[in-house]
Amino acid sequence: MKNIISNINKAFDHRIRLGIMSILMVNEFADFKTLKELLGATDGNVASHTKALEKQHYIKVEKSFIDRKPNTRYLVTDTGRKAFQEHLGALEKLLNTKNEIQ
């Protein structure tokens, strides 16, 4: 049981972070506006959570200019992909064991 819980990643223990990772897992990249709209979150909210994930090296940030406007793209890193998959596996296992106990 301990083993399972240790795989639950605290870095993903928030709705917005979970959302950011989910979006980036299935898309090549996503820009700030897309993330904001999909998650229904505020600028500051998205910014702080992306920063937290970036610090863990789970996502990468690419800044560029499109039509002279700054554009920020977020991409998931290999580390992030692996960590998120482990997190998902842990969630799944946890739910399965709990269901068995019930």
Binding site: L18, S22, T34, L95
Partner: protein
């Protein structure tokens, strides 16, 4: 308590994954309309051709007609069906997106359109080439095959159900190559009946609940 939180997490993950990568406002009802237009178009085309029976009913039909007037009329009918079908799809899909509180023009719909129209455009040009060499009999099968491929390709970016419609049209198109001279019948079946069946199925599965 904990359990519920994790279940909610999983639901959120699934939601975000599909919402961010698939355009799910595509209206099923627009498929039904596309089918009706296609059948109407096929009837008009059959009527036009009935004035010139040698074109399609003749087994030599793939060595086409030189009657450019006739060809122009048929192309016009096909174009009208296409414009009507796409127009209706845009109107109904916009309405559905609005009801769902989703955007009609975002990265998912852009991706869907691009991936749908790329194979379709290639097919359209190929059909014009067939027309150029007057290989009229293969135009209907080619339209079905390319349309099917476009659907299979696009299905990754919207409801995966679209894939079945795609395969059905490709197979029908390939069968149609062996029955040259019955192009209109296959055309009506693929673009008409298949669309209506698919549209009703999609409407029942997704739209009716939402409405």
């Amino acid at each position: 308590m904990e359990n519920e939180k994790y279940l909610k997490d999983l639901t959120e993950i699934r939601n975000m994954m599909s919402q961010s990568s698939r355009f799910i406002s595509l209206s099923g009802l627009s498929g039904v309309f596309a089918g009706i237009y296609a059948i109407a178009g096929a009837l008009v085309a059959a009527k036009i051709l009935s004035y010139e029976p040698s074109v399609y009913t003749n087994s030599q039909s793939y060595i086409a007609t030189t009657n450019t007037d006739l060809v122009t009329q048929l192309v016009m009918v096909a174009a009208a069906v296409l414009v009507l079908a796409i127009g209706t799809a845009i109107v109904l899909t916009t309405r559905k997106a609005k009801m769902q509180g989703k955007k009609i023009w975002d990265s998912t719909s852009r991706r869907l359109l691009l991936n749908f129209f790329a194979p379709l455009l290639a097919g359209g040009i190929f059909c014009l080439v067939l027309l150029q060499y007057q290989i009229i009999g293969l135009i209907a099968p080619a339209m079905l095959i390319f349309y099917g491929l476009a659907l299979i390709h696009a299905s990754k970016y919207t409801f995966s159900d679209l894939k079945s419609l795609g395969y059905a049209n490709v197979i029908l198109g390939l069968i149609a190559t062996q029955f040259i001279g019955y192009g209109i019948v296959f055309w009506a079946l693929g673009f008409g009946i298949f669309h209506i069946v698919y549209g009703v199925w999609m409407y029942n599965k997704y739209d009716r609940k939402a409405a």
